[in-house]
């Protein structure tokens, strides 16, 4: 269908479609998470709005839209108002280079994965603006932690994401996915030793990059109330929430693409996007599972974990992957 349209029109339509799908996904992923958490905690979860609480996300979104938009008098208004948007844009942009099926994506650029990693690191600007602009001590502490954490975890995140790049021999997202087609054993998570190690490190680094428990020291509601978004309400709060979940889903798609074979799966080819979505949701549930079973660790422990363990480990893994790949090509198998 896409191929039949003139290219300039595709360029306009595709982002629009992707953006709306992502927003729809975000609203329903919150329900998925709440239901999943409820199961873990022997509760029922949202149940009242619609059958099995299926309309709950819509009710939540409506509620947030109708809430009063409070701006603290002491806030730096321009920064305060701009922050949610600055935060949201990179979180949405990361979907630009993800191919949801062969040829089905906004822009399958040849440095796709670099684009993803670079853009997802940009969210820190919005976070810091929110924390600074709120002129609140909790928010300021949270912003300070955000900068600490994101800088510490970007490198392990990038290094672990580069392992599949080395294995596939390309930075282009669709090439990485294509390298894993055919059989289950071609998925990079099943690559002996390296695949599993890289996957675990990738999940840990994603957790930190997404600010999820046990690395959610930015939000840390038992210490910092709600961290950088403590002063936000209404739609601005909704935008921050949307960005956070979009980032999480984006990372889940990235994980599914890098390690779980993207759209490969049984059945006809048009089921590809469905498989991809299911795998991304699996990644999301792994993160959710971790979130609801661990306690948060302290800021100094988080930094120590990154610089003393994760960074050397991912770097070592990247180098050994490179050695293995070179050895395999030279040995000819």
């Amino acid at each position: 269908m896409m191929a039949a349209l003139p290219p300039w029109l595709t360029l306009l339509i595709a982002p629009f479609v992707v953006l709306n799908v992502v927003i729809g996904l975000v609203t329903y992923v919150t329900l998925l998470e709440r239901k999943f958490a409820a199961r873990m905690q022997s509760r029922i979860g949202p149940y009242r709005v619609g059958p099995h609480g299926l309309l709950q996300p819509i009710a939540d979104a409506l509620k947030l839209m109708m809430k009063e938009d409070v701006v603290p008098t002491a806030a730096d208004r321009r920064i305060y108002n701009l922050a949610p948007i600055v935060f949201l844009i990179p979180c949405m942009l990361i979907f630009a280079t993800i191919p949801f099926a062969p040829g089905l994506g906004v822009a399958d650029v040849n440095i796709g994965i670099l684009f993803f990693l670079a853009v997802s690191a940009m969210e820190i600007v919005g976070l810091f603006m929110a924390g600074w602009g709120s002129n609140n001590k909790y928010a300021l502490l949270s912003a300070m932690r955000a900068v600490n954490q994101i800088i510490s975890y970007d490198l392990p995140f990038i290094f672990s994401a580069l392992v599949p790049v080395l294995l596939a021999g390309s930075l282009k997202m669709s090439d990485i996915a294509a390298a894993q087609q055919g059989s289950l054993l071609k998925w990079f998570i099943f690559y002996p030793v390296i695949g599993q190690l890289a996957f675990i490190m990738f999940v840990v680094a994603t957790l930190a990059a997404e600010n999820r428990v046990p690395f959610d020291i930015l939000e840390a509601e038992s210490e910092l109330v709600a961290g950088f978004r403590v002063e936000y309400s209404g739609m601005k709060f909704a935008l921050i929430q949307l960005g956070e979940y979009a980032h999480m889903i984006g990372s889940s798609f990235l994980g599914a693409l890098l390690f779980l074979g993207a759209w490969s799966g049984p059945g006809p080819e048009y089921l590809g996007p469905i498989w991809f979505l299911l795998k991304a949701m699996f990644m999301f549930l792994v993160v959710t599972w971790i979130r609801w079973s661990f306690v948060r660790i302290r800021v100094d422990q988080i930094l120590a974990l990154s610089w003393k363990a994760l960074l050397p480990a991912t770097l070592g893994l990247l180098i050994s992957t490179a050695i293995v790949v070179v050895w395999r090509t030279s040995a000819g198998f």
């Binding site: 022997s42 300021l140 046990p214 959610d216 939000e219 038992s222 948060r296 800021v299």
Partner: protein, 387 residues
């Protein structure tokens, strides 16, 4: 006497331009009620903490002068609303000591049963809220919290079957207890504590093999043996600092000498030691309840006639101090009677109040995140702190 300068502020060799003073509370997610800690921060590190209390003051001591010995036990439960039975216990013991009232053996055993069940309920709430302080209401902490609340619910059901109320009871009465156990209650109680026994195992497996939990609890908020004695903390905090002191064994009341139990002591003095002590206390409380149910004698539940009017109980002139080992430590009442139906004066000794005094000594030098972990491990109930 402690050196005040080391207590109030630690020097961290800070080179930053200024310190940040931040209010945690009185409205704060981890304030456990209404507690205000004014913390001074150097970056993430707390260098000084000023604990402000009094936001929940309800004039309990004055109130006790206006209510009769028949009325006040139900109000006493509102001092420490998480362990309501314990506060009632301390009140009636003081009145009985002045009046030299006998308490029938059956009533003594019933008191032990509810006091130990209350200890389990209170520790369950502590475990849940403490984990929530460390893990967040939107994380693993909430999972433990909901599990603990589920079990606490079972005990509240037992109390409801016994008294009719779920949180604030009025079960105790000068001279005995107000109610006897209904039919089938003993069996239900046994089943409940069996369930809780197995669930406590589950929590221990879930927490003690969890590296993140250990990283947050071990070596945090160390209370040395000397400091514990100087500040005068009590209960699990004291036993977590290596001091073997438990009123149930050291000064037995209400037939505690009839039961065979162990007083858990840990020597590390950190949050994890306090956690270990409380987890062991779960088991001990469960064995005490089992023994009490086994040995429960028959007979009257009160040495005094059933209550018909509020001013029925009169106590001769005199004064007495009575204390019990509550879930948080020593809960005591000092009572002066002038021979009327009401106490002339009464003083509460709340365990949380004395335990809270440890905070300014141990918090400085820790990170912000540890403030809530330490406060949770102290387990204050602000109804009891402010009274």
């Amino acid at each position: 006497m402690l050196d005040q300068s080391t207590v109030s502020r630690v020097e961290m060799d800070w080179s930053g331009p200024e310190r940040l003073t931040m209010n945690m509370g009185p409205q704060h997610p981890s304030a456990h009620g209404v507690f205000r800690a004014i913390v001074t921060l150097e970056g993430e590190t707390v260098v000084a903490v000023d604990a402000v209390i009094g936001y929940l003051h309800r004039c309990h001591e004055k109130l006790s002068e206006t209510l009769t010995y028949a009325q006040y036990p139900s109000i006493a439960s509102k001092t420490d609303y998480v362990a309501a039975m314990t506060s009632e216990f301390a009140y009636v013991l003081a009145a009985e000591e002045i009046g030299k009232f006998e308490v029938p053996k059956r009533a003594q055993y019933l008191r032990v049963i509810v006091a130990e069940l209350q200890r389990i309920a209170s520790h369950l709430l502590w475990l849940g809220t403490w984990c929530m302080d460390m893990g967040g209401a939107l994380g693993g902490g909430a999972t433990i919290f909901l599990y603990c609340i589920r079990e606490r619910e079972l005990i509240l059901d037992l109390f409801e079957a016994l008294v009719g109320a779920r949180l604030l009871y009025g079960f105790f009465q000068v001279g005995g207890t107000r109610y006897d156990i209904p039919d089938g209650w003993a069996q239900k109680c046994r089943e409940t504590i069996d369930v809780i026994d197995s669930r406590v195992d589950e929590y221990q497996r879930m927490l003690e093999h969890n590296a993140f939990f250990l990283a947050r609890a071990k070596g945090v908020g160390i209370v040395s043996r000397e400091l514990a004695q100087d500040v005068g903390i009590a209960g699990p905090l004291l036993r977590g600092s290596g001091i073997n002191w438990d009123l149930r064994r050291n000064a037995p009341y209400s037939s505690y000498e009839d039961f065979d139990f162990r007083v858990p002591v840990e020597t590390d003095g950190d949050c994890y030691a306090r956690y270990r002590v409380r987890m062991a206390e779960f088991r001990q409380a469960i064995t005490i309840v089992r023994q009490a149910l086994d040995k429960l004698p028959s007979g009257p539940i009160s040495s005094r006639p059933a209550l018909k009017s509020v001013a029925q109980i009169r106590i001769p002139k005199g004064e007495a101090y009575a204390r019990v080992e509550g879930p948080r430590g020593e809960v005591g009442t000092y009572m002066i009677s002038d021979g009327s139906a009401k106490p002339y004066r009464m003083k509460w000794r709340g365990a949380s109040f004395s335990n809270l005094a440890i905070l300014p000594h141990i918090i400085p030098g820790h990170k912000v995140a540890d403030v809530v972990a330490i406060m949770g491990s102290v387990d204050p109930v602000f109804g009891e702190v402010d009274r």
